[in-house]
Point group: C2
Chain length 187, copies 2
Amino acid sequence: MRYEMRFSGSGGQGVILASVILAEAAVADGLNAVQSQAYGPEARGGLCRAETVLSREQIWYTKVDRPQFLLALTQASLDKYAQSLAEDAVVMADDTLALPAGVDPARALRLPILATARDKVGKIMTANIVAVGAINRALGLFGEEALREGVRRHIPAGTEELNWKALEAGTALIGDEAAGRFRRPAL
Amino acid sequence: MRYEMRFSGSGGQGVILASVILAEAAVADGLNAVQSQAYGPEARGGLCRAETVLSREQIWYTKVDRPQFLLALTQASLDKYAQSLAEDAVVMADDTLALPAGVDPARALRLPILATARDKVGKIMTANIVAVGAINRALGLFGEEALREGVRRHIPAGTEELNWKALEAGTALIGDEAAGRFRRPAL
């Protein structure tokens, strides 16, 4: 039993950090996790992606082939990575993006991630933390303390308040109905 | 043809960042790289490890089983990870550590990484950057610009000078003889 997550966008949007934060939160919550990213032709083309695998057991196979969750912050990353998803995968995308053919709208969450970071939090570079908050709530992943522990280790001292604001704004993007519908299978 | 590297120490020593920096430097230098870390029982025990795989081709198998290079900044990490190395692997360890049985002293570099960071650079937390400089010079990995590009993306603004100092101090730990002897096989 494992849960494979992929995080994608353009370089500089912090999707690697989102992946790392959720992996570390998993540990704080008692799970095992492997976090990875590939640098190659895609990275040179401006695409950025990272992956986190969660499991209760030790993780032997570390590669992510057909993720059960995809975050996409750009159209290019959504179009590309929507092509390789597990059946029933949950897709979370910024609401400025169009869902490509093949993605079941009933399994997709289009959310104002970038606008929330820019307008509500006041810093576009917190979009990855907004996304982490939304992902955590939608999938029902970790307790708030585990999540904050994951974030805390990766933010500059003095930016805690900004980042808690981003986490909360992201969490608030997910209503009770969505939080029930998109919950991750038990591990 | 691939080159597998493992970076180990205790949490907070920045070995994950060393692994990430070298993976990104590889891309700036035209190679492909996969960077990963596992969080699990070892992490809860205070051990921290990360891995970077380099190749000219796309990397399909991302797991590191028998690395050709090991960095160890603590005795516990050296003792544990020295048990699973490729034949002829290069081991770089802080010089306060004792080489475990089974490690060929002719393939080991014991270097004052922690002391250099603390006394020469003036900040113990730059030990990972000192190590990156030493690794890059000993293995003959990347050009200086590619290496700095990898570092630049991960340091707080305003700390460039400190980090260049750490890189240079690490590079200076490796003499010409060692730089010839430990050179990485061509990819």
